[in-house]
């Protein structure tokens, strides 16, 4: 359940909200098809027009990764997406942004490279608006692709009672699933959306 540890977004520096609304909508649709520049793979492996749905390259073996600074410099300021959502999977809540991955509990019926739609969206927030679900934002959906069905790191379960000659040692690896978030949709028609107004904050 490791979420991204980078800051979710920089504080918005733009003060005008109305004029930036159409550009935010446009960049919203563009951000979904932007290549995932921050991904730690060699640049030659990435397809230049990264289609959000089909993953052509094999995910098994990663190539030699470029240094992170070079990738961040290449990514530029457009790294942060304009939308994020809070989604509930397996009774845990995650903050998701398109282009990043999350580790969840093992989804039993899913195979690798399956498209998944997550329906329990509790909050969707863009740069201008926040759609707070009560409890769920209706008709909102988060699209994800199953990347890998693996296991967590091993934990050693060691039980011990002193002076009673009782000890048990057990190793445990919890199965997990890695999901790559490809897009967040369906939140525009939600009625209750308090408009974020940085000028009045």
């Amino acid at each position: 359940m490791a979420t991204a540890t980078l800051p979710l977004r920089l504080l918005p520096s733009k003060t005008l909200t109305l004029t930036t609304l159409p550009s935010a909508r446009r960049s919203l649709s563009v951000a979904a098809v932007e290549p995932r520049r921050w991904h730690l793979r060699a640049a030659a492996e990435e397809s230049p027009e990264a289609v959000e749905v089909e993953f052509v390259e094999a995910e098994e073996e990663p190539a030699v990764p470029e240094p992170v600074e070079a990738q961040l410099a290449a990514a530029g300021a457009g790294k942060d997406a304009d939308i994020f959502a809070v989604v509930m999977i397996g009774s845990r809540q995650y903050i998701v942004m398109p282009g990043r991955y999350i580790y969840t509990q093992r989804l039993k019926g899913a195979n690798v490279n399956d498209q998944i739609i997550l329906n329990k969206v509790l909050l969707v927030s863009t740069r201008e608006k926040a759609y707070i679900g009560m409890p769920v934002v209706t008709n909102a959906a988060v699209h994800a692709v199953v990347e890998e069905q693996g296991r967590d790191d091993k934990v050693i379960v060691f039980k011990f009672k002193k002076k009673k000659k009782y000890q048990r040692k057990l190793g445990h690896r919890q199965p997990n699933t890695r999901l790559r978030i490809t897009g967040i949709s369906g939140s525009e028609e939600y009625p209750a959306d308090p408009i974020l107004d940085p000028a009045a904050a």
Partner: protein
Amino acid sequence: MDYMEGGKLFRRSSNWKMNKGKIFKLAKGFRGRAKNCIRIARERVEKALQYSYRDRHNKKRDMRSLWIERINSGTRLHGVNYGKFMHGLMKENIQLNRKVLSELSMHEPYSFKALVDVSRTSFPGNRPVKKEGLAAIL
């Protein structure tokens, strides 16, 4: 070594080897002789494994109280304290958990303020936001 006492770690195996390598691998980073000498390392590794079992349960409690602290400080910036904030959210049937709320209060201040406003309209039991400085005079 004697294997009569079965209470020590890794001595229950029937062969004579006492898995020293495994113990020293788990004892990396320990202080002083506990990483080098088998008699001391074995006890310390035992203790370390017990602590890790116990603390895996404690971590969940500690993290929850940390999230509550962060939400509290985040909402008090807006003039609402934690208890009334959560009561307002529960009344509105918003089911965001404390982990997510603490992350929002740290990294998404505008979304968090929207949540605080929702809670305040739903349960107005808090002092009004004080205007400071020049706004108080106007």
